[in-house]
């Protein structure tokens, strides 16, 4: 009798346990983040604080162990930063409560709400794609020829920036060509900053007279924004940097050390620093979710994928017409966090993201510029972030801006990745303390 009761109770408790585990599986929902770079890591940190733990499990997938501070790749070639300053273990930045899977992503099946990893399949209720963009040097004929990483370098990868640093240490001078293959590229001002920093670097080494710097761009001017070209072209003259515009590269002539464009214009080089075509990750192509360059069609104000309601895209992986830059990802992350929460509750998404970008531009000799712009508003003059006070000045060179850029590395590792709001910097572009008519401003000066 007693035994019967105990057995009965055990069976009942077993059944209860079984039912509750079933309930757990059916009520727990999965939010999956692909990519633990700047955007993915920020989203994990934001969402772990916002999504109810009893209802949502958060998983992030990235095959790589190391998280690079990519803005540092600009400084690495000039021995301004060391290797240690630009990389850390990625796992350190993934918060507790988020499941971190270090595996290769094989394919996304958006129609079936699942993602195939190298040896398992993960189902999701909401997917955030943060797979970024990377260089695709094989898109240009003979770029990956015998001179690659000997006399031709990229600085958009850790390996490229490091190889270039070693080359520059003993380079004796000649024709330095800084080149952009095609737009869009990650951090569109970086190649120009590279040219400015190169001018400084060779001056400092006492060999500027031995180096001829040419900036070659597929655009019609040095800057991607017309107002910048108006306000800042003097910098090129001041630094004696020659410019070749409207150059659409067709191929590299390794033998004669020159680049050739479709109009048969040639630019000779002794040292070529190129920004190859930038493309979204191959997994986007394998999953049939991208455009020609593997960027995912994304609603530019909500960051929801245009094809699938429960798929969101952030950072360099999107096709939105904003700069591919960490500052943009940072502003996007704030809007996307709100939209994910709204989506889980079945509310309408905020059409909020305005393309806000905020970039420091290193101009060499310990000075920098700061530009602030969005989808509709060109970069403006004025002060940032406080109207009339600054301390940072927009569209003007200053030493303070340079300190700002260097301080940003600390902000990146300690605040930005962890999703801590940067004081006084708002997600949407603020119109306070800014001058919107550059011509009017120029007359004042």
């Amino acid at each position: 009798m007693r035994i019967g009761i105990i057995l009965h109770q055990e069976i009942r408790s077993l059944t209860n346990a079984h039912i509750s585990s079933l309930n757990l599986n059916t009520t727990m929902k999965n939010l999956l983040i692909l990519g633990a770079g700047t955007s993915g890591t920020m989203m994990a940190n934001h969402l772990v604080k916002k999504l109810p733990k009893k209802e949502w499990a958060i998983t992030i997938v990235d095959q790589y162990k190391t998280h690079y501070y990519q803005p540092g790749f600009l400084f690495l070639p000039f021995d301004i930063y060391s290797e240690e300053q630009v990389k850390k273990t990625g796992k350190k930045f993934i918060p507790k409560g988020v499941n971190y899977i270090q595996k290769k992503i094989e394919q996304i099946f958006p129609e079936e709400n699942k993602v195939a990893l190298e040896d398992e399949t993960v189902h999701y209720d909401i997917l955030i794609v943060a797979t970024g963009s990377k260089i695709a040097p094989d898109e240009t004929e003979d770029l990956l020829g015998p001179l690659w990483h000997k006399d031709i370098f990229d600085f958009y990868t850790y390996e490229g920036a490091l190889a270039l640093r070693n080359k520059l240490r003993d380079w004796e001078g000649g024709k330095l060509v800084v080149h952009i293959t095609e737009m869009p590229i990650k951090c569109p001002v970086a190649p120009l900053e590279f040219a400015f920093l190169a001018d400084s670097y060779f001056h400092k080494k006492g060999m500027r007279d031995k180096v001829e710097i040419t900036y070659v761009t597929p655009l019609s001017g040095a800057f991607t924004k017309p107002t910048c070209t108006t306000a800042l072209t003097y910098l090129l003259d001041e630094k004696d940097i020659k410019i070749e515009t409207d150059f659409a590269i067709e191929r590299v002539d390794n033998e004669n050390k020159q680049i050739i464009d479709y109009a048969d214009t040639t630019v000779p080089f002794d040292l070529l620093v190129t920004v190859p075509t930038n493309m979204g990750d191959e997994v986007i192509e394998r999953s049939g979710m991208g455009d020609d360059l593997n960027f995912i069609p994304t609603h530019k104000h909500t960051l929801q994928s245009k094809e699938h309601d429960n798929v969101f895209v952030i950072g360099d992986a999107t096709n939105v017409p904003a700069s591919k830059a960490g500052s943009v990802a940072h502003f996007q992350a704030e809007t996307l966090t709100d939209n994910i929460i709204l989506f889980t509750k079945g509310y309408k998404l905020k059409e909020e993201f305005d393309g806000h970008a905020n970039c420091f531009i290193e101009t060499g000799k310990n000075k920098a510029l700061l530009i602030d712009f969005n989808y509709d508003q060109e970069p403006v003059h004025g002060t940032f972030p406080f109207a009339g006070i600054g301390p940072l000045k927009l569209l003007k060179e200053s030493i303070f801006n340079h300190w700002g850029k260097l301080a940003f590395r600390w902000i990146y590792w300690n605040m930005l990745l962890k999703g801590i709001a940067i004081p006084f910097v708002s997600r949407n572009m603020s119109f306070k303390g800014k001058v919107f008519d550059i011509k009017a401003e120029k007359q004042h000066v």
């Binding site: 095609e182 737009m183 869009p184 655009l219 991607t224 409207d246 067709e250 479709y262 020609d292």
Partner: protein, 102 residues
């Protein structure tokens, strides 16, 4: 900004791009092309209609996109519109200047 092309008063941008595609006609195209030192051949017209079609379908124009056009290759595109082919061809086609510069 106003500009009179082929006897018609048109709204254009500072760089001379039509702001209203519906104002475009072949005479306007010929005159803009002439200013760019381009004489329009059948191949040019084919490219112009392809460009207009892309813009109508809200497909972003790029040099890369020419590869897939099925109309011509990039080399031919440069030969037809020397200098900045995308800038010139869009101006002649009466469509906005491509925003490939972000």
């Amino acid at each position: 900004m106003d500009l009179t092309i082929a006897g018609i008063r048109l709204d254009v941008t500072e760089e001379g791009y039509l702001t209203d595609v519906s104002q475009w006609n072949e005479e306007i195209a010929k005159e803009i092309a002439q200013k760019e030192d381009i004489e329009l051949t059948d191949k040019h017209w084919e490219v112009i209609s392809w460009i207009q079609e892309q813009v109508k379908n809200e497909v972003a124009l790029s040099i890369r996109g020419i590869k897939k056009s099925g109309v011509l290759n990039i080399k031919e595109f440069y030969a037809l519109f020397p200098g900045g082919p995308l800038k010139k061809a869009t101006k002649i086609a009466g469509v906005p200047k491509p925003k490939s510069c972000i």
